[in-house]
């Protein structure tokens, strides 16, 4: 049996760990609340913008804008949004694995697949496996719109220049505190609803200035907003995942402390018994 001292040491160390996981849980809970508010606040904008875009693009035929252009998809860019920090359960690894599977599936039908990562964890995972197009790390602590706009501009430039023909976005969308959904979303070319959907809303809009000009402004905007939203969703999901992970870690630590304490008490009792035996047998021998 392990010595009393070593058990005591372990109990102390597990207690320290529990202290940390508890603190991390608290921090995540606080951050989660803010992140969640941000997501909820951003959703209407993204949704409305999507609607405006649909009503614009859906009403028109032909290639009005380079971002709507459907080319033969040969080169795929996968944009993966992960977190910068670990210790959040399967949050990153699940997403990365899903991305990995997706790429393996698609490898046959594309000439070239490259990855753009937002967040350090995704970069670590993908850089040893595939070509990293570009990596953005440490921007998620405080996601802001300007950063998203910058990334969007990069993606758009690459698309227009023909570096890739299709862009997909992969991120954890925030569903509840306990669960995130792994989400694939096609960013480019922009998918406009086909004519069928338009017939339901045969509203004749007055456009000012022209449709083409409006589209030219709204399409890049939409990409920005989608990226911004995915960043927010991912951050909220990360905090949720971390909170859950840290909660269960704290629980496990408590359980372990219980077990170790039991062991410690047993060992202590055994030591006392042995000591007693020694004393008794000693005194017996003196008597005799």
């Amino acid at each position: 049996m392990a010595s009393l001292k070593s058990i005591k040491k372990r109990i102390v160390s597990v207690k320290n760990t529990r202290q940390i996981t508890k603190a991390m849980k608290m921090v995540s809970a606080a951050k989660l609340r803010r992140a969640q508010e941000n997501v909820v606040a951003a959703r209407p904008y993204a949704k409305k913008l999507g609607e405006v875009l649909q009503s614009l693009a859906g009403n028109q035929e032909g290639d009005l804008h380079p971002l709507l252009e459907k080319r033969e998809a040969k080169k795929l860019l996968l944009v993966v949004v992960t977190s910068d920090r670990g210790l959040c359960g399967g949050f990153n690894s699940n997403l990365c694995k899903a991305g990995d599977r997706y790429i393996k599936e698609k490898q046959a039908s594309y000439e070239q697949i490259s990855v753009m990562t937002i967040g350090r964890k995704g970069n670590e995972f993908f850089k040893s496996r595939y070509t990293i197009h570009k990596n953005y790390s440490n921007i998620l602590a405080k996601p802001n719109y300007q950063t998203a706009a910058m990334i969007a501009q990069e993606i758009i430039d690459g698309f227009v220049a023909g570096e890739y023909d299709q862009v997909e976005l992969l991120y954890n969308s925030f569903r509840t505190v306990m669960s995130q959904d792994i989400t694939f979303q096609q960013l480019l070319p922009v998918l406009a609803e086909t004519a069928a959907a338009v017939e339901e809303t045969p509203v004749e809009y007055i456009y000012e200035p022209s449709v083409a000009e409006l589209l030219a402004e709204i399409l890049p905007k939409n990409i920005e907003v989608q990226i911004f939203k995915s960043m927010l969703e991912s951050v909220a999901g990360e905090h949720g995942a971390r909170m859950t992970a840290m909660d269960s870690a704290s629980k496990n630590a408590s359980e372990m402390i219980g077990k170790l304490t039991l062991q410690y008490n047993r060992a202590r009792q055994a030591a006392i018994t042995t000591e007693l035996m020694e004393i008794i047998s000693g005194s017996e021998s003196i008597k005799g």
């Binding site: 904008y45 405006v52 719109y145 809009y205 200035p209 409006l214 402004e217």
Partner: protein, 138 residues
């Protein structure tokens, strides 16, 4: 005036406004325009400018930064990057921004890449000061 329009102003950070109004005026890409209930479906892009809405005779102003304006079935959706109510504008800050932009513009020529950015900043600051001024007079 029984008929009203629903006005919603949304930015990427929050829903700024959601209320019933009688009349809205805004600055479109090619000029200022106003809408009243019963307006035909209309979609336009907005430039940096001012949005004014009237409700029960009370007029309010907002400083907007680049976005879209859509009206359909008396429902107005305004999608903008930033929207500030006239009484929420920090005049000191806006004036400081105005000064900064002016300074920067003096040093730059129109060919510079930065020129456009500062020009936009100048315009934003101007509108903010203007709108804030209207609130103070109210």
């Amino acid at each position: 005036m029984a008929e009203k329009m629903k006005l919603e102003i949304v930015t990427p950070y929050s829903k700024v406004l959601d209320m019933e109004v009688d009349e809205v005026t805004a600055t479109g890409k090619i000029g200022e325009f106003g809408v009243l209930p019963g307006h035909a479906p209309f979609l336009t892009s907005l430039r940096i400018g001012e949005l004014t809405y009237k409700n029960n005779g009370i007029t309010d102003h907002m400083a907007l930064n680049w976005g879209y304006f859509e009206i359909q079935d008396d429902k107005i959706i305004v999608l903008v990057e930033t929207a500030e109510a006239s009484d929420a504008i920090d005049v000191e800050r806006a004036k400081a921004a105005l000064g900064r932009a002016e300074e920067a513009l003096k040093k730059l020529t129109p060919e510079d890449k930065q020129h456009k950015i500062y020009e936009a900043a100048l315009e934003r600051a101007l509108i903010r000061v203007q709108v804030a001024g209207k609130a103070a007079r109210k």
